[in-house]
Amino acid sequence: MGHTILEKIIALQKKTSNIRNLCILAHVDHGKTTLADCLVANNGIISSRLAGKLRYLDSREDEQIRGITMKSSGISLHYTTGGNEYLINLIDSPGHVDFSSEVSTAVRLCDGAIVVVDAVEGVCPQTQVVLRQAWLENIRPVLVINKIDRLIVELKLTSQEAFTHLQKILEQVNAVTGALFTSKVLEERAEKDADATSSCTENSSGDQVYDWSAGLEETDDSDLYFSPDQGNVVFASAIDGWGFRIHQFAEMYSQKMGIRSSVLLKTLWGDFYINAKVKKIMKGAQAKGKKPLFVQLVLDNIWNLYDAVVTRRDKEKVEKMVTSLGLKVMSRDLRHSDPRVLLSAICSQWLPVSQAVLSMVCEKLPSPAEIVAERVEKLMSVGARRFDSLPEKTQELKKAFLDCSADEMAPVIVFVSKMFAVDSKALPQNKKRPLTQEEIAQRRELARQRHGERQAANQSTETSGSVDAGGTSILAAPATSSVTDALCAQTEALSVKTAVEEEGKEQFVAFARVYSGVIRKGQKVFVLGPKFDPSLALRMLSGGCSATDALPTIPHMACCTVDSLYLLMGRELEELDEVPSGNVLGIGGMEEFILKSATISTSLACPPFTPLNFEATPIVRVAVEPKHPSEMPKLVRGMRLLNQADPCAEVLIQETGEHVLVTAGEMHLQRCLDDLRERFAKIEISASKPIIPFRETVVRPPTLDMVNEELGKQQKVAVIHQVKEEQTKYPEGVQVDSTGLVMLTTSNKMATVGVRAIPLPEDATRLLEDNVELIRTMVQLSLFAWEGKTLDINQKILENIQDFKVKLESHLQGHKWRGAVERIWAFGPRRCGPNILLNNIEGYQRPSVWQCLKCVKEKEKAEATTLRDFDNSIVSGFQLATLSGPMCEEPLMGVCFSVETWDMKLSTPPAQQDSVDENSVSQCAETSNDNQSLSSELQDVHETDMSTTGSNRSRSRVEAMGSSVDCYGPYSGQLIASVKEACRYAFQAKPQRLMAAMYTCEIMATADVLGRMYGVLSKREGRVLHEEMKEGTDMFIIKAVLPVAESFGFADEIRKRTSGLACPQLVFSHWEVISSDPFWVPTTEEEYLHFGEKADSANQALKYMNAVRKRKGLYVEEKIVEHAEKQRTLGKNK
């Protein structure tokens, strides 16, 4: 780009009324980028010959390869019409659903939008979405009906047919707009109604007359719709470079036919025809079978041209047309073998699309200064907060918005909608430019100096003799000399590798727009995060202060200096010194301060702008891993950068250590992975299905079998199965009675524990889950209490705990739970999970978990029971058992273990009477020697390693007494192991179930794809909770739940099946018991009849369980080969 244009643009930036900020929106493949190309070509940035082929704004490599736009990118154009010069900041946006977040970022910065619709495909899902987005952001749209050439060349419609077709499309678009309008009006009305009913409930209802009008009639909507005679519709074919508004034809024909152009303008679109005899325009062309005016005067001409140039290739006729239109076509184009070249050469002169579109834009779209007050209020009020509730100072800023003045005094307000990464090479500062003569001379001088120094340094190394010292002196010597030299030397000293790295570094540029004031290079500004609260800031700094003062730290606020400002020119950036209000710009050097979006201002009263409306929420989750584990840090850094660069992507590290990338769709995911690979992390990575968590639980014994017959009535046929299972389940030393009470003795036969597993009611489980934090503080409090530290406990926390306790009591009703809450021993796993250990041992008292409620710290009396000492072993055993269940080593949930008996044998009298602790330990040491079998738990290496070492104190005691060492390890260790095993067996004695994590899934879909959407849901085990119709539209809102395990690929499938008309959102909601028993085998006669002996119909729970077991390398009961006879065993060469 030449300097002249740049200067012109800078000059124009100051004329706010001549600026147009607009974006191009459309469904994918409707020709946004092609249209943008035409507009860019108009400015001479690219050749008009290449317009439509180059896709100038698709600067990414994968965009070019795939042929779709993946990011929004801006470009500033200069346009002159009627003596007025305009600056047009054009933003091209992607059309694919996955990138609708990019659309949001583009729409936010604009005042107007060009909505492009394919003349063949008409209104598509994304068209609706972008119209809605434009609507929500309160920006004014204009319409371009593109690809009209396809109607002629591909569909071979006659001009008459094409006219009706175009009419239909226009109606569709207007229908969408109308729906948006009505839904808004209805919403407002509903709000008003709600207000009214709440305010005047005491009014007698008798005199209330329901207002059926619904307010639709009262609200004016005429200026909303697209209509060619309004001048906000362009018919175009961007690929062939032509486009027109009916204004152009109206003017043309008004001269020719002598009809006033205003009349023509009104009648050119619509059911009018010209009566040649009376030279009058009449209504009712369709009824009379006459050609409508539009067909006769406009379309026919184009059709003729196409017919001559493309279809019949009639050279003479073409020449005649060209001369009659008064165009000059180069003979090179005339001779070209491809008729399209000739066509575009003619068309782009006759009806240049850029002219049509740009003039429409300049006329119809508002300038930044004409910002509507309503929009300002919307932008400034975050979330549900009303504008009125904002602090006064903030409200004052509204004026600044409305003024949009580039005054020195006006506060600077800039909104950054996204951060995008730019190769640092592409930045204008780093661009290579031709050196001036002086510079060359300077460099030569420098090189000479350096050379001399190096020689000197070499000499010095020789003298010093030591190689090491020489190395440092080389570095040191230049450093002491002049600054420039030092710099040179440093770059020299750096290895080539680092140089390469620096070259490839990504720099972030903020994609932003100035709403008020002038932003300057080097200016100090506040960067306000999305959660910044102006009222808080104003409270903290009562007086007025500027960004230069030292400030206390305010959450979500940072203070920084504007590093550099850029003019966005597609793939290039031009450096600027200042940008006045109303312009779109790039800001460099903000990556430290801005994550994704932010508001920049010089006033702290400025509220952060409302968060962008994202049509697509990120729902596709994958786990990302580096190919080489040692490259982990690079991956983490890369993911951070990606997070910053992409408005929609989310990255997180899960507790399992997985690095999870959440994207809006498969295509978006692909782009993110490419970005990670090639730009941000620069390592090989692999993406896989994330690990799906499960929970294990027990349920009440079912009363119905799988064919809904009552259990217990029929005879059990498959006794064999049952017997076999029972045998394998319990090793010796474990006794299980019919009620599920498990008795287990430690390996030294010293203690016996009886444990029973009971399912917790669902509500109680949920309550426990919701109060994890509370339980954790509770545990901590009791820990402190035991330690004897006095802790001033927050009264509110105590109240919460009390509340929690009462609630828990209310959930644990019934006979068997009587007094259970008081007897809770511990929660687990990790001391705060949704499982309970109950102390049902007779005659054993221990301080309850609720002890922190008693504010008075009781001095704990030393209980002289041995049980008390080992209290903790039981808890530890319980914690271990709940952390990984027997089904697939996943945590337990909603299980209550009740310890019913706990016997300790104490045969020999204590050796030392003074300490109770000692006697138990010594006993276990003495008596345990004669035991033979090692418990399996203690056999494994780690175990013994840990437990024997962990036994420090018991052993020290034992050794001090001179008795032999317990061969089973310490006593408490054994107890932990036994309790854990007992819990596991108790768990297994009950009907076990797997719990799956569930997403709630909210789907917006139009009525016609409902059926297919239900199909996808049911295929993936989803369950529809409810559906309702959104008032005023044909959209349905469906709420469903879906197992997380089935959600992989869900978004993609549902979009494919519904042609993108349903957009789901997934949010984790709860855990749900999978009703099928993973260990189920047919047992009754009916079940045999129904399922056969093997019951190989898919058991969802078993499938999940085996998948987890396989992943963890646990034993899976699976045959290596299913059918023995079917193996091919012959060698290859026999």
Binding site: P626, M639, G657, W786, D869, V941, T949, S972, A1124
Partner: protein, 289 residues
């Protein structure tokens, strides 16, 4: 002419031979390949899917059937019963698929154990099993079928340390010892302790109570950690005569025994070492920002 010329050569296909010596004689049965292990593990319940035939042979490949008299050694006439005995106790050549699946399972198991025990020292977060598996393949670790998986996992950790940033998850322990031994002990412990989180130097009696439920077990693997019930009274006795040093620190689980030994010997049983948590890891999800 050899007996095994191509024409009269009989090749057993799809046959796995299970052998057993009983009463000084060798017996063989003919089974299907890849099925014997499944039978032994209980996954295959249909005997017909395991046995080619329920005849007992002396030599399967030659087709020599065992004599009835010889079979008396089994103590039963029922051939199927005898086959079951041989199946469960006899020796067999493990087939490729069986071995492969067994080794793969062990490999996974080892990786799972390593992933559970270790963290990335930089982020204090565990590695995923997948990543560990890949790293194990990178260092060409070969699974030994006759060693326990936990033993091998400990070896793997050592080897992995050379290629990636990995570390046994630290244990959080609390050491208590009489103050008079303090200086001496501290010097010795210095090398063993990774991070000292807090140090207390108390001389108040009440403050030296040790929480009894500190042996928190939060790790996902079956390790028993104990808090051995030394009574508070006990400590009080000691602390009446001397001050106690308290220290909360992070250590490598491998050093546990050494530290324990040290404290115990040096303080003559008066000091104590408790485990506060087995694994010092970050909890919860973190959003990268």
């Amino acid at each position: 002419m050899s007996i095994f010329t191509p024409t009269n050569q009989i090749r057993l296909t799809n046959v796995a031979v299970v052998r057993m010596k009983k009463g000084g004689k060798r017996f063989e049965i003919a089974c299907y390949k890849n099925k014997v292990m499944s039978w032994r593990s209980g996954a295959e319940k249909d005997l017909d899917e395991v046995l080619q035939t329920n005849t007992v042979f002396v030599n399967v490949s030659k087709g020599q059937v065992a004599k009835k008299d010889d079979l008396k050694a089994f103590g039963t006439e029922d051939l199927t019963e005898i086959c079951k005995q041989i199946l469960s106790k006899g020796e067999l050549q493990v087939s490729d698929k069986e071995r492969h699946s067994q080794l793969e399972q062990m490999f996974r198991d080892i990786a799972t154990i390593v992933a559970e025990k270790c963290v990335n020292p930089e982020t204090k977060r565990p590695y995923t099993v997948n990543l560990i598996e890949r790293a194990m393949k990178d260092i060409h670790y070969s699974v030994k079928a006759n060693k326990s998986t936990k033993q091998q996992a400990l070896e793997v950790i050592k080897q992995l340390k050379e290629s990636i940033q990995i570390q046994r998850a630290h244990m959080r322990v609390r050491c208590v010892w009489p103050a008079k031994d303090g200086k001496r002990l501290k010097e010795k412990l210095k090398s063993l302790i990774k991070v000292v989180e807090s140090e207390d130097f108390d001389d108040e009696l009440e403050m030296v109570q040790i929480p009894e439920d500190t042996a928190e077990v939060s790790a996902g693997f079956s390790v028993t950690i104990l808090w051995l019930g030394e009574k508070k009274e006990d400590l009080k006795q000691t602390s009446q005569t001397s001050k106690l040093d308290k220290k909360v620190c992070l250590i490598d689980p491998g050093c546990f025994r050494e530290i324990d030994e040290l404290i115990r010997c040096e303080t003559k049983g008066k000091g104590a070492l408790e485990v506060l948590s087995l694994k010092d890891v970050e909890e919860g999800d973190e959003r990268l920002e």
